[in-house]
Amino acid sequence: MRAATLLVPAGILVLVLWSWHGTRFDPVGLLGADGRAQMLAYAEKLFPPDLSPDLLRKVAYWSLETFAISFMGTLLSVTVALALVFFASRNLVFAGVLFEVDGAGQPTRIARIGLFVAAKALLNLLRTVPHIVWALIFVFAVGLGPFPGVLALGLHTGGVLGKLFAEVVEDIETQPLAALQAAGASRPQVFFYGVLPRVLPQFLAYSLYRWEVNIREAIILGYVGAGGLGQQIQIAISLFLENKLLTLILAIYLMVTLVDYLSAYLRRRLL
C-alpha cells in the first residue's frame, strides 16, 4: 500500500515529463515576449469579423448544412444502433431469465451465440474506425459533399450508440421480464412490454448526447470535403482570410451552443 501510494504519483510524473519532452511543449516560447506578440498580432488580424451581408448569407447556409449533417448523421446512427442492439445484448439473444427454460436444442443455442458475436464484432468495427477515416472512405465511394459526412457520422456513431444501448438493455431488471414470462407472454410480447418501455428513455438520452458530439464532429468532417462550416474554415485559414475566419468561428460557436441547448431542452421535456 505504502509503495503503491508513492508509485502512482511517481509514474504519473514520469509520464508527464516524458510527454512534455516528446511533444516539445514550450510554454515559455508561447507565453514569452515573442510568442505573446505573435499571438496578439494574429488575434488583431482576426478583428473585425467580416459581417458583410453577402458573407452572412453564405455563412447561414453553411451553418444549416453543418446542422443538417449532424442531424441526419445522428438519425442514421440511431437507426444503425437500433438495428443491431437487440442482437448485441446477451439477455435478449441467449442468456438470462428469458432462456432459462429453453426448449431449443444445442444447435439453436450456438446459432444464437454466433449471432450475438457477429453483432458485437460489427459494432466494434463501426466504432473503431474513426469518423474521419469513414468520411474519406465514403468520399471515395460517393464523391465530395455532405452526404459522405452523414454516412461517416452515422456508421461511427452507430457503433458507439450500439454499444451504449446494449449496455442499457443488459442492465435492465429481470423481475418484470420474469413476471411477464410467468404470465405466459411470448418472447416478442416480453420484448415489447417488458424491455422497450424500460430502455427507450435511456436510448433517447444517449442519442441526444451524441447529437451534441456530432455537431462538433460534423465540423471536423468538413476538412475531408464533407461541406459545411468545417470546409470553409479550412479554406479561410489556407487563404489567410482572417476576418472571414472569425465570422465562421462565431457561427460555429452559435451552432454548437444552439445544439447543446436544444439537446438539453429536449432531454428535459421528453424524459
Binding site: 442531424f71 452526404f147 460555429i252
Partner: protein
C-alpha cells in the same frame, strides 16, 4: 385507457403545453428532417452506383493483406508514442486551464450560497465584484469548449508551426473548457454541511475549499479527468490529419497515397491503443470511486 379518478388527480394538470408540445415537436422534427435531407444532399442511390461500387471494391481489396512489414511498423513507433504524449500533455494543460477557471466559475464559491451571503448582503458593489469574474470565467470556458479542438489546432498550427505542440495546445484549450464546466458542476453539487462547519470555525475561503470541498469532490474530479484523457487519445489521433503529429498524420498520408493496406494497420494500432487506454482508465476509476 381511462384512469381511475384518484390517479388522474395525481397527474400534472393537463394545461395547453402538454397537448401542444408533441404537436410542435412533431412539426419541427418533420421540418428538420425534410430540410436536412435536402441540405445534406442525401442520395442513397449513389451507394449503389457502378462507379461508387467499383471504388469501394478497390478500397476493400486494397486493404488486404494489412501491411505488417517490420519496416513499416518500425516507422510507426514514433507517431504511436507521439499520440500518447500529445494526449497526456493535452490533458495536463486542460487541467491547468480548466481547474482555475472552474473555481472562478462555481457559483457557490463565487457569489451565492452561505459562503458569500453574509459578505455580499447590502453591498451592490461587492456583489458586482464577485459576480463579474464568475460571468467572465463562464464565458471563457464556453468559448474554449464550443470551438472544436480541430479549429483550435488549425489556428495553433498557424501560430506555432507543425508538430505535436499545436496538438497539445488545441486539446488543452478545448478540453480545458470542458473540464472547467464539469469541475464547476461537481463543486456546485457537493454537500454543504462540511463547508458550513468549517466556516463556523472561522476558516478562510481557501481553507474551506481545500479541507471542505476538494476532499469530497476529488474522486469525481479524477474520474472525469481520466474519462477526458480517453477522449484525448482519440482526439490526438484525429488532429494528426491537420499536421499536429501522431498516428493521424500517418493515416492521412497513407490515405492520400491510396495505400489502404497501411490504413488498416494504422486503424488496428489505434484500436489497440484506445482499448488499452480505456482499460487502464477504467481500472483507475474503479480503484478511486
Amino acid at each position: 385507457m381511462p384512469l381511475p379518478k384518484p390517479f388522474e388527480a395525481a397527474l400534472p394538470s393537463s394545461d395547453h403545453s402538454r397537448f401542444l408540445f408533441p404537436i410542435l415537436f412533431g412539426i419541427c422534427f418533420a421540418a428538420a428532417f425534410v430540410g436536412s435531407w435536402q441540405l445534406a444532399q442525401i442520395q442513397p442511390g449513389l451507394l449503389f452506383e457502378a462507379e461508387g461500387r467499383r471504388n469501394m471494391g478497390r478500397f476493400i481489396t486494397g486493404m488486404f493483406p494489412p501491411d505488417l512489414s517490420l519496416n513499416f511498423l518500425r516507422f510507426l513507433v514514433v507517431p504511436f508514442f507521439e499520440t500518447i504524449q500529445i494526449s497526456v500533455m493535452g490533458t495536463v494543460l486542460a487541467i491547468a486551464i480548466g481547474f482555475p477557471l472552474s473555481l472562478l466559475g462555481t457559483a457557490s464559491l463565487a457569489h451565492t450560497g452561505m459562503l458569500n451571503d453574509l459578505e455580499i448582503a447590502g453591498s451592490p458593489g461587492r456583489r458586482l465584484a464577485r459576480t463579474l469574474p464568475y460571468v467572465l470565467a463562464r464565458a471563457v470556458m464556453s468559448v474554449f469548449r464550443c470551438i472544436p479542438e480541430f479549429v483550435w489546432a488549425f489556428m495553433f498550427v498557424r501560430a506555432v508551426g507543425l508538430g505535436p505542440f499545436p496538438g497539445v495546445l488545441a486539446i488543452g484549450v478545448s478540453y480545458g473548457g470542458m473540464l472547467g464546466k464539469v469541475y464547476s458542476e461537481i463543486l456546485e453539487n457537493l454537500e454543504v454541511q462540511p463547508s458550513e462547519a468549517l466556516q463556523a470555525t472561522g476558516a478562510s475561503r481557501w481553507k474551506i475549499l481545500v479541507y471542505g470541498m476538494l476532499p469530497q469532490a476529488l474522486p469525481q474530479l479524477v474520474s472525469y479527468t481520466l474519462y477526458r484523457w480517453e477522449c484525448a487519445v482519440r482526439a490526438s489521433a484525429i488532429l494528426g490529419f491537420i499536421g499536429a503529429g501522431g498516428l493521424g498524420q500517418q493515416i492521412e498520408l497513407s490515405m492520400r497515397m491510396f495505400n489502404f493496406h497501411e490504413v488498416v494497420t494504422l486503424v488496428l494500432i489505434l484500436f489497440l491503443l484506445v482499448a488499452a487506454v480505456d482499460f487502464l482508465s477504467a481500472r483507475a476509476r474503479k480503484a478511486i470511486v
